[in-house]
């Protein structure tokens, strides 16, 4: 008479233990799947981030590059204090509010280099991922501001309307914005910091 409750309690405890383990395992799988999905989304977005249209103005040093071959910018220009060039030779000396194909000069009202803290050239996609969501380096943007920036900013959008013979960034700004949003909502996972 006394053994039934004991067995019942033991069975309940065992079931609880098994259940917790199963749940833990299931949770790990879900977390792992979600992280893998998030990383996959970022890799897709990385096709834009690592296109010449974006990398040219996110140089690793002070000098931008140009063309699909990412050649050093001609003439020799530098970032300057605020990303708009050196005194006497600001970006605006040549780059204006719109592309001007007659002179082969691209343009946008906000034409400038990305800040040095957002240099992407020479970095792995994993390093760019960590960098891009770090407010200390991305211009103080939280995730909401970052998503707005990539989906709405006019200079970012220039990458899909580069004019001339320049190859646009893959897809569209809307698709890129949606990808980045899905990445953020899936946990903003980052690939490992190593060459892809």
């Amino acid at each position: 008479m006394m053994r039934a409750p004991t067995l019942a309690l033991a069975a309940t405890a065992l079931l609880a233990t098994v259940s917790a383990g199963a749940q833990r395992m299931l949770g790990q799988t879900q977390t792992s799947d979600a992280n893998a999905k998030s990383i996959a989304l970022f890799r897709e977005a990385g096709k834009v981030l690592q296109s010449p249209r974006c990398l040219n103005c996110h140089p690793g040093a002070d000098r931008p590059t140009q063309t699909d071959r990412m050649e050093p910018h001609r003439p020799w220009v530098v970032r300057g204090i605020d990303g708009s060039g050196a005194p006497g030779l600001h970006c605006g000396a040549c780059h204006h509010a719109a592309n001007f194909d007659a002179a082969r000069v691209p343009g946008n009202p906000g034409w400038r280099l990305a800040p040095a803290s957002m240099g992407w050239q020479g970095r792995s996609l994993g390093a760019i991922c960590v960098q891009i969501k770090d407010p200390a380096r991305n211009g103080g943007r939280d995730m909401t501001a970052l998503l707005h920036h990539v989906a709405q900013d006019s200079l970012v959008g220039w990458a899909w309307r580069p004019g001339g013979a320049r190859t646009p960034a893959p897809g569209s700004q809307a698709t890129f914005g949606a990808l980045m949003r899905a990445w953020a909502e899936s946990g903003a996972g980052c690939p490992p910091d190593k060459p892809e």
């Binding site: 003439p75 006497g88 030779l89 002179a103 082969r104």
Partner: protein, 154 residues
């Protein structure tokens, strides 16, 4: 084609040109201001440097339709302390050789001195990297800008 008003060297002019015409063509072909030179036409050489609202700009890179209400100053109309100092230094140092690029060099030098009163060699190099000189008068250009900066101190 259509009439476009342009503020140039302190006066207003109306010209009948296509809106896509580069400012440089308007200056040289329509207004007869040939001091601004055509070098490359693709914003690589700096020979066509003018001021638009007091900022240096390559005239080949701007369609006239984008000028709006902005005021253009060319080598023929540039004035002010920096302009006098640079032009005096240019003459004293006998900077030009063939002279073709020099109006652009002078405009960029003036622009630099408006931003940096006492530029270093590096400041000069960075500001004038976009102004090419096939005669390689760069050493005299740099020296003349230092002279002009000293003159502006006095």
């Amino acid at each position: 084609m259509g009439l476009i008003n342009i503020k140039i060297n302190g006066s207003s002019r109306s010209i009948d040109v296509d809106g896509d015409t580069p400012l440089l063509w308007v200056l040289r072909d329509n207004l007869g201001l040939t001091g601004t030179k055509f070098g490359c036409g693709i914003a690589l050489c700096g020979a066509c440097t003018v001021f638009v609202d007091d900022r240096p700009l390559r005239a080949c890179s701007l369609p006239i339709s984008a000028l709006g209400e902005s005021e253009v100053t060319t080598i023929e109309g540039v004035t002010g302390r920096e302009a006098v100092a640079v032009q005096s230094a240019w003459v004293a140092r006998d900077v030009p050789q063939c002279g073709y690029c020099q109006s652009g060099q002078v405009m960029s030098a003036i622009a630099l001195l408006k931003e940096i009163r006492k530029p270093t060699d590096r400041d000069i190099d960075l500001a004038l990297n976009g102004n090419l000189c096939r005669c390689a008068t760069y050493v005299r250009i740099r020296a003349a800008i230092h002279d002009a900066a000293r003159a502006l101190e006095g």
